[in-house]
């Protein structure tokens, strides 16, 4: 069964990246491992949107090429569409052009007066191709004007939801920030349009919202007259939440997840749009992702009007126990994320050098290679493609987890993974270690604040990777990957 995500703006795209990594680790509910996502952003070249697309492409290659047979690893089937932009005509770049403001003024139409009433002259004439620059009122107007449920991709989404509703309950979640431009305007508009579009047609649809409250700030971008103002974020947030409350969104949304941070991170924003606007991942997206997993799980008991609160023990760190989870299956989710982290480091730094050597030489005496590739006669070309894609993916996973663990905040201490094991700090920022820089003696310290009895050990993982995989569904290069993944279980 499928879950549906509408990810609006840069924050929505970043949540989607978290969901991809969580899907790779097997965190999606067992009975609902398909994810259909639509990215929505007026700025089609937004850096975060591009990163999300690249990530999903790599993930899907791994999902296709690696038949691991595992219920967890790469078990999610992810279909990503978009980005859809509310700017229907690429030649049109301003509210003035969309509504033909000049003609309305000439005709002395009431619509022109309405536009003058609601918007400043600057806003009517500001370019919106790279986002709504913290002006949700502009965005909401454009979204309401543009969404057509009889045209792709909305028609496609509608058909899929209808098809899914015949199999069971439908879970649709929309995500975006409340303080920016695209998310603040798109999320409330789109969820209302979706609820109206289905009306009485789909009675088992559950709508959810993930609302990102302020969690970062940035310095003004030089040379940009109109841009989002971080100083206005708290007020914009208060107004947005008031809007959601007063307009009764909880009457038709089953769940609303609000996530934010008291101490914002300092993000470097070199531009207000396009590929240069690429905000780093933040742990708040991991927290929001856990909420999304909870929403998708239709097996969990739910109560109308219930309030769940996520918090953490210490303000300057996020440990495994701080990740919110449902009391029923939550520990399992954390364990899977831990196993994914261990697997990623082990694969990249311990196994991949020997895999690459074996692929280059065409043969190897290494136990895991002989037992899982040579003896089962796995096609070398296929193995090469798959294992190199996996190397690419684990690099992206580690990069994501690194950023999530090291937000740009004074005094923040990583509490889940030790970044020094697989990354180095240079000139105030972190980067992944190259393979020769990795020291396997640091490996046992990878997972922090973990109450497990067994100690991580490269040698034992290496030894276990040569064990037989007792799963007929594991085949091809997936057999080797499954062996390594199973060896990384805590």
């Amino acid at each position: 069964m499928s879950n549906f995500v509408v990810a609006v703006g840069g924050s929505g795209a970043k949540l989607m990246q978290s969901l991809v990594h969580m899907g790779a680790a097997g965190l999606l509910p067992a009975q609902r491992r398909k994810l259909f996502a639509l990215l929505v952003d007026p700025d089609e070249n937004n850096g975060n949107v591009q990163d999300c697309q690249a990530l999903v492409k790599t993930y899907n290659q791994c999902h296709e090429l690696l038949k691991t047979g595992s219920d967890d690893l790469f078990s999610a089937a992810i279909n990503l569409e978009g980005p859809w932009t509310p700017i229907r005509d690429p030649r049109v770049d301003t509210l003035s052009e969309i509504f033909q403001y000049d003609k309305l003024v000439q005709a002395k139409a009431p619509d022109a007066e309405l536009l003058d009433l609601f918007f400043e002259k600057q806003e009517i004439n500001m370019s919106i191709k790279q986002g709504f620059r913290g002006r949700p009122s502009v965005g909401a107007t454009v979204f309401a004007h543009s969404v057509r449920f009889d045209e792709p991709p909305w028609s496609d989404l509608k058909e899929r939801i209808k098809a899914q509703s015949a199999e069971g309950s439908v879970r649709v979640i929309l995500a975006g920030s409340v303080f920016g431009g695209s998310g603040a305007s798109g999320v409330p508009t789109l969820v209302r349009l979706l609820a109206s579009a289905f009306g009485g047609q789909v009675t088992n649809m559950h709508l959810g919202l993930v609302l990102f409250l302020p969690f970062f700030q940035f310095r003004p971008v030089p040379g940009e007259e109109i841009q989002a103002d971080p100083a206005a974020f708290p007020m914009a947030t208060a107004e947005a939440l008031k809007y959601y409350h007063e307009r009764g969104f909880l009457d038709f949304c089953n769940s609303i997840y609000c996530v934010g941070e008291e101490v914002p991170s300092q993000l470097v924003v070199s531009a207000v749009g396009a590929a240069e606007q690429r905000n780093e991942p933040h742990f708040i997206e991991l927290v929001a992702g856990m909420g999304t997993m909870r929403f998708f799980n239709d097996q969990l008991p739910s109560k109308s009007g219930a309030l769940a609160v996520a918090g953490r023990k210490s303000e300057n760190t996020v440990a495994w126990d701080d990740l919110p989870y449902d009391e029923h299956k939550g520990r399992d989710l954390t364990r899977k994320l831990q196993q994914m982290a261990v697997f990623s480091v082990a694969y990249r730094y311990i196994f991949y050098p020997q895999i690459e050597a074996a692929l280059t030489a065409g043969k190897s005496q290494t136990a895991f290679w002989v037992d899982h590739v040579e003896r089962p006669k796995v096609d070398r070309a296929l193995a090469g493609r798959a294992l190199r894609e996996l190397y690419d993916y684990v690099g992206k996973f580690l990069e994501w987890f690194l950023r999530v663990s090291t937000p740009h905040r004074e005094g923040f201490v990583p509490g889940a993974i030790n970044p020094n094991v697989f990354a180095v700090r240079e000139s105030g920022s972190w980067r992944l270690k190259q393979i020769p820089e990795f020291n396997d003696r640091d490996f046992p310290d990878l997972l922090l604040n973990r109450l497990a009895r067994t100690r991580l050990d490269c040698r034992s993982i290496y030894e276990k990777s040569a064990r037989a995989v007792n799963d007929k569904n594991a085949a091809g290069p997936g057999l080797l990957v499954r062996a390594i993944y199973d060896a990384c279980a805590a």
């Binding site: 196994f351 020997q354 290494t366 136990a367 002989v370 396997d440 040698r459 290496y462 030894e463």
Partner: protein
């Protein structure tokens, strides 16, 4: 120490138990005499056999130590994932060389035959090398189980 390690070490001992049986049978049935190995003049047959038995056991002991040394290094020594194949093969050959050196020591210091001395020499050298090879080929630690030449053909566990 895992169960697998204990099992491997016991099986290596079992291989050398077969080696010991060969020595015991060779001594009990006076194999040197049957192969027309003649003790030197002035040396009693029984003394010659006892000496032969002693040095065979010395060679067997050193060969066993070599096999154990290989296992210990493979299980707890250099990390298999960061040590080159060539290094492992070198270590293995050094173990073999040690076993063969024990054989040469027995040839030099052991009972000197008046005739067909090469039979004793062959026994010491071939037995030392063969059982070292069998023990390491069949029961190397998992991380290096395919390093020993020929192990890929036979080893399925």
């Amino acid at each position: 120490m895992t169960k697998r390690t204990v099992a491997d070490l016991m099986l290596i001992i079992a291989v050398y138990a077969v080696y010991w049986s060969c020595i015991y049978l060779a001594t009990s049935y006076n194999l040197p005499q049957q192969l027309q190995v003649v003790p030197p003049q002035g040396v009693e047959e029984t003394d010659f056999l006892l000496n032969f038995n002693y040095w065979s056991l010395v060679v067997m002991g050193i060969s066993l130590l070599s096999a154990f040394g290989w296992y210990v290094l493979g299980a707890w020594g250099p990390k298999a994932y960061s040590t080159a194949l060539g290094t492992w093969i070198l270590i293995w050959f050094m173990g073999l060389a040690l076993a063969l050196a024990a054989g040469f020591m027995a040839i030099w210091l052991g009972p000197q035959a008046g005739e067909k001395a090469y039979v004793l020499a062959a026994f010491y050298l071939v037995a030392a090398a063969l059982f070292y090879y069998l023990a390491t080929m069949l029961f190397s630690p998992v991380n290096i189980k395919y390093v020993v030449p020929g192990s890929k053909l036979f080893r399925r566990w």
